[in-house]
Symmetry: C2
Subunit: 200 residues, 2 copies
């Protein structure tokens, strides 16, 4: 019986996308499964005065090059071949993340997560534009209008805030973050550590 | 026959110390051995406008706590039990790193590296004070006066500058950094990646 880990994510994080693509093969080994928990990364950054690696280190060519190398290694290792850097990065993900909560209410979380990650990091779309977001969902048969309506309700907005505040309270500072019980790991390279811990 | 990797280090880096302590057990497996390459981390930071994680993220409690957690995990995994945070951190390592080059000239590199890492991260000494540095070496039978004299020569100073400039040219941005041929890895967690690459 696989143990369940939490995967705290924001569609705006390229490393969260890479983890999303790597997870099926990890889960197929039967040691750990992942429960996707939507959080607003911008909200976490704001709460703790953190910033993305690109903002913090974008002026240091060697670090940017190394981060790219580590992404390439991760993709090679996990057979990920559709990634493109989003030309609109950083994209505001407030609407997309509220939609993630709405999709959970409507029972289409898996298809929604897949559509958003693919739209952001395979199609390179500017997902903070409502019509772009709408078309990305409609194209895969998801009820865009219904999701948009639900995402705009106070309850859904409050749930995303609650997820984000709970993450901050657990000392989350970035994405991807994993929890197995109370044990936390940060970063795509820690996926194998989570699996190792789950097998112990 | 083990492949030889390079381990670029500065005694001032706690994560370089942890790698130094982890290396013997890795080398004992016979897949990879490490050639220690002294570089001046402060010189690298200055050249590329980088800074230490503590300087960049010291105000973000959650990141500091997580870095400490990852250090503890690494220590638990590798049976490292003597680490203490140096109360004088960050310690200027210019003299210690020049001494590292001098020790290589004198054929006592291994004992010198061990003495400096232990003095910095087990004894918590303020190694930028000449008499503290001297005593740390004398205590383990190393020729402190001879090392100090040699470390002050233009040739030794130039060699440390050359090592540091070569590292910057190879896009090194921090410590610990590893090379296997031209392939680079950054960070203590990559030690196992280096070993995996060497076994391929």
């Amino acid at each position: 019986m696989a143990k369940e880990a939490e995967f705290l994510f924001d569609y705006g994080s390229p490393n969260a996308y890479l983890v999303h693509r790597a997870i099926p093969a990890v889960e197929a080994r039967g040691i750990v499964s992942f429960r996707y928990v939507p959080v607003l990364l911008g909200g976490i950054f704001k709460a703790i005065d953190n910033q993305s690696p690109m903002q913090a280190y974008g002026h240091i060519g060697a670090k940017v090059a190394y981060d790219r190398l580590e992404m390439q290694r991760f993709m090679a290792k996990h057979g990920i071949d559709k990634f493109v850097m989003n030309p609109h990065f950083p994209v505001n993900t407030l609407m997309a993340m509220r939609g993630a909560i709405a999709a959970r209410e409507l029972g289409c979380a898996r298809a929604y997560d897949e559509a958003m990650f693919a739209a952001m990091w395979e199609q390179g779309l500017k997902l903070d534009l409502p019509d772009v977001w709408d078309r990305a969902l409609t194209a895969v048969g998801l009820p865009a209008a219904q999701l948009a309506e639900l995402a705009a309700t106070p309850e859904i907005k409050a749930q995303l805030v609650a997820n984000t505040e709970a993450a901050v309270a657990r000392e989350v500072f970035g994405s991807p973050t994993f929890f197995l019980g109370q044990e936390m790991w940060f970063g795509k390279e820690r996926l194998r550590d989570v699996e190792e811990a789950a097998s112990a």
